[in-house]
Symmetry: C2
Subunit: 212 residues, 2 copies
DNA sequence: CGTTGACTTGAAGGTATTCAAGCTTTGTGG
DNA sequence: CCACAAAGCTTGAATACCTTCAAGTCAACG
């Protein structure tokens, strides 16, 4: 309902960094600037990506510009799965993001390792269906904040790499409704905002009580 | 929002039929009566199912009874994927349904064949996110009817195996809203109902125009 | 310090829900 | 085979929640 497909920012397409993230293969990561496109709807698929750092949004558009973000991907997570050789979605870097490409050599035993990753993404999507289909605005925001906290190590203070507009398009709400729900949590002493995108969970139980 | 988890009907658990569906392995199918449970949340997973005939709903419940159906499965389709050995969802037969069990022998090359199936389910779930997050009631019903028609061979007349309540819980609406949208399509001459569950598409283009 | 984009807050309006009643279909027992 | 009951579906009216429209505040950056 909100945003036009943003024209890709200028970004160092193909720029390569040598990164040594612990536990990762020692390979160069590709850097994507904030807002740059990783792949687009209709493009040929076949490459998977693992997030080294930063954050990615995967989304789809309706003809009139309404946007649904189906998933955010944070450090460590793998995305880029498609079913018939073509991408059905767009993927963009939300902020400066390093990606490790995983080539799908045909006939490799990669599918053995891929299956659990795809299954995890699938279960996550299904659980998000419950949020979009059956939860109200406050419940959606509560579930979202808890999910973000958990995926960033479970600490009580964490960062939101994405804008309110992104959150709205992920949760099927408007930016105003997102803002109001967050303000309401703040007024009730459930959360505190160190900055607009730094959240501190003061009463996580209160959020858990809402999201189920 | 609607339904309590229905107590499983009496059903011939383990009853076996010899079916010879063309193209399928010649193995006995298990018959499930309307409303009977195939698996439940928390149960040990590991078995996949292919629908021989009938229809299945896969869903999740909130503590207060709100239900979200994440997918329907019709003849030919495979379901039962789970990510960590436990089912996160419930699966029930909607009507009398025959299922072919696919055992996941560990270490088999089954994952090679499974991957495309999981990917297809994943893409389907992601596309449903767009419907739940960004489409209004009429658009949801339009998309649903087109999807049902297509999955039953693309004919202009097809059956809805599920109740209005199931449709509502799949589309994130109430039963009344589903009924009103269908009535509205009927009043506009877009569809005709031979019976309450037999739909005839008079102007499929009109529906296509709504769902994107 | 001024401008731009992101975010917040307020008020009015709209779409879907809730509550309620009536209708249709299906199944069951007499 | 009919009558009745139960379930499923439809329709109407009032309400609620979220959206839309509008204005104002805050933060980042040149």
């Amino acid at each position: 309902m909100t945003i036009q497909h943003p024209a890709a920012y200028v970004h160092p397409e193909g720029a390569r960094l040598s990164l040594h993230v612990p536990g990762s293969r020692i390979q160069p990561a590709t850097l994507y600037a904030a807002g740059s496109e990783i792949y687009g709807q209709g493009e040929k698929a076949g490459t998977l990506y693992q997030v080294e750092f930063g954050a990615v949004r995967v989304y789809r558009l309706l003809a009139d510009g309404r946007r649904q973000i189906s998933a955010f991907h944070l450090a460590g997570e793998v995305f880029g799965f498609e079913s018939d050789g073509r991408h059905h979605f767009f993927a963009e870097a939300i902020c400066a993001t390093g990606l490790q490409a995983i080539r799908q050599g045909p006939g490799s035993d990669l599918s053995q390792r891929l299956l659990p990753l795809v299954l995890k993404s699938f279960v996550r999507a299904q659980e998000h269906l419950l949020v979009l289909g059956r939860q109200n605005a406050a419940e959606r925001i509560a579930a979202f904040l808890l999910d973000m906290a958990e995926r960033q190590g479970g600490l009580e203070t964490f960062e939101l790499p994405m804008s309110r507009t992104d959150i709205a398009d992920y949760l099927g709400l408007t930016i105003e409704t997102v803002s109001r729900a967050i303000s309401s949590f703040r007024a009730k002493g459930i959360i505190r905002l160190r900055t607009q995108r730094t959240v501190e969970l003061l009463k996580p139980e209160a959020l858990r009580g809402m999201s189920e």
